[in-house]
């Protein structure tokens, strides 16, 4: 069990900087998820923690010991790779025992550890098989087993579910969550899937272009996104963002001339706005169908209706901007149906137009 500290971590390939000074303090037994789009630097950060990439500047400390120059094998970490990285010519048992062989464990203890990990991951019957004789999910379990037998200080996961089909991904996500409760080790998990991030993380680090846009619990990141990037990236479907302007006294003018009056804390924070030009954000589920159309803040007609069973996603236009609303099932049947929404002022988000930062 260990703390992991990243301080002003930077990585450049020649003149091209990919990680621009990331600070992160991971508490003992905490599960941190690095999430972001392709090329945001999340895997590079993970590989720097593992010691597979050199650090351009900054430091990485595990339990207070700076490991910048420490060889990967001496960092006491275990890593699960995107493509599993199982040794194809070795059996499951040999794969899981591989690291223990080079760490001076006695044969009896190696057998015992491998058996215990296999039991935990329900792969006891597969230990004599070669990786090519396993399904994707089984390979994933073996990869996790290989990490578990080591009993390392820090677990690193590099997009471990991205090679699985959608159904198996959901099942494995649940298994990782359950495993994590049984083996509570400090973990850094990289993914581009915001659902994985939300469901697994104690805290999420949202990365964009090598910069941590926001670090917080899943609730914080979802409910109070620090920027338009976070607002749009976290949540499926993403938050609706409309170009709007402040019209004084806590009022916001939306495209198409709709005027929305914010109240209380929502209103007072508008005073801090550096300019009148803003992004107005509202999540699809926070567009509430209005019982009384005359009191609705948004009136429109459905353009696309997508019934999902549990919800119905409805796309519509507001002043030329496409919006999406999550509505109760069967509440809207067809394109052209009239729509009327109200919004709770506490559920709307305001971002500075120029910087994209939350106001």
């Amino acid at each position: 069990m260990a703390r992991l500290t990243l301080s002003a971590l930077r990585k450049s390939y020649g003149a091209h900087a990919v990680v621009h000074g990331v600070d992160l303090d991971v508490a003992d037994r905490e599960f941190i998820v690095l999430v972001g789009p392709s090329g945001c630097g999340k895997s590079t950060i993970l590989r720097m923690i593992a010691g597979l990439e050199e650090i351009t500047s900054g430091s990485i400390a595990i339990d207070g010991r700076v490991v910048n120059e420490v060889d990967p094998k001496d960092r006491d970490i275990a890593m699960v790779f995107q493509d599993y990285a199982l040794y194809p010519h070795m059996t499951v048992e040999q794969n899981m025992a591989f690291s223990l062989r080079y760490r001076g464990f006695a044969k009896a203890e190696i057998r015992q550890r491998v058996a215990a990990a296999a039991r935990m991951l329900d792969i006891e019957t597969l230990v004599a098989r070669l990786p090519r004789q396993l399904s994707g999910g089984q390979r994933q379990r073996v990869a996790m087993g290989r990490a578990i037998v080591r009993d390392p200080k820090v677990f690193l996961f590099d997009e471990p579910l991205s090679n699985l089909d959608a159904k198996l991904r959901v099942a494995m996500r649940t298994e990782i969550k359950a495993l994590r409760q049984r083996v509570p080790v400090t973990t850094v998990y990289v993914t581009h899937d915001q659902v994985e991030a939300m469901t697994l993380a104690d805290r999420i680090v949202v990365l964009d272009k090598g910069t941590a846009q926001q670090i917080g619990t899943p609730e914080e990141v979802y409910e109070t996104p620090a920027s338009t990037f976070v607002a749009a990236f976290m949540g499926a479907p993403p938050m609706n963002l409309l170009p709007a302007s402040l019209s004084g006294e806590g009022a916001v003018e939306l495209p198409g001339g709709t005027r929305l009056q914010l109240s209380g804390a929502s209103s007072s924070r508008l005073d801090r706005a550096p300019s009148r030009e803003i992004w107005f954000g509202v999540r699809p589920e926070h567009l509430v169908p209005a019982r009384d159309t005359s009191k609705a803040e948004i009136v429109a007609k459905a353009r696309v209706v997508e019934p999902l069973g549990s919800d119905t996603m409805v796309q519509f236009d507001l002043g030329g901007v496409a919006l999406i609303a999550r509505m109760p099932p069967k509440s809207v049947r067809a394109p052209g149906d009239p729509l009327a929404f109200t919004m709770d002022p506490h559920d709307v988000h305001v971002f500075d137009r120029a910087s994209g930062r939350r106001i």
């Binding site: 593992a50 010691g51 597979l52 060889d71 990967p72 094998k73 970490i77 275990a78 890593m79 790779f81 995107q82 493509d83 599993y84 990285a85 199982l86 040794y87 194809p88 010519h89 591989f98 690291s99 080079y102 760490r103 990786p131 090519r132 390979r139 290989r146």
Partner: protein, 324 residues
Amino acid sequence: MNTAPPQRAGVAGSADAVAPPVRAADWYRRKRTREAMLVACFLLPSLMIFFLYRILPLGWNVILSFEYWSPLKAARFAGLDNYAEMFLEDDVFWQALTNTLIFILASPIAILLALAVALAVNSDLKGAAIYRTIIFLSYPLMSVAVGIVWRWLYDERGGFINFVLRGTGLIKEPIPFLQSFGWALPSVILADIWQVVGFYMIILLTGLQSIPQHLYEAARIDGAPASARFLRITLPMLRPSLFICAVIGILNSFTAFDLVYVMTGGGPAHATELLVTHIYNMGFGETRFDYAAALTVVQFTLLVILTFLANRAVGGNAGSVESA
């Protein structure tokens, strides 16, 4: 084309009721037959060429080896006479067989050398691509050209190797590389290794580059030292490539006719005689095609046995590419 099996006919009261029922099993059997015929049509041209130029001559060669035959006389059955002569009376055959086996045993040296070169040019070595190209360039050269160049290099009086050895003071008298019974075979083998090492290097380099980097990274994290990474990951993952090199090495040893013929002609005193040069000498030198055919059968059998053993040595699944 109808791709779905027909429904069972014979519904009571319908017009189909009078038609004979078409069973699904029959439909699938006919479909398989059609597919087999299509496959056969595609394969036939290649199979015909293979049969005419490989199987037929081989079969005729086997028959010939049990006959007394010359172009001017009718063939007579000879039983095992040609083989008996070969094994009991022909010293040159044993010399050629020994030399061929030595040639084969030298191919691991070439493979090891190629592996070392492949590992070097696969690393971050500066100018690796240039070295790779230069080393490979030896392979496309015609063996006759290689033989001539190496004959000059080995020349006793004006050869470059003797010039260097004498210049550096390592020897006082020039070495008659290709004229000495002891030196001739190693000298020819060295020239052969020089020619094939570039080709082996390319095969092994391709194999090396197909090994996923993640395996090495996982091994580094697992704590495996560089030697263990080589022995436990690189070598097992290179098995298909090593097998290809081994088979090419064996084939090359059996068919290195032109190099030997140009450099030494099989001499001196059969010191560099290979089975293939002996077959040539018997067939086209002494017009004993029947005896040459028997030699060919022995060479073919050896080739099959050695290829089988090489396949077994790499686990019996040579050519397959393992993946995680």
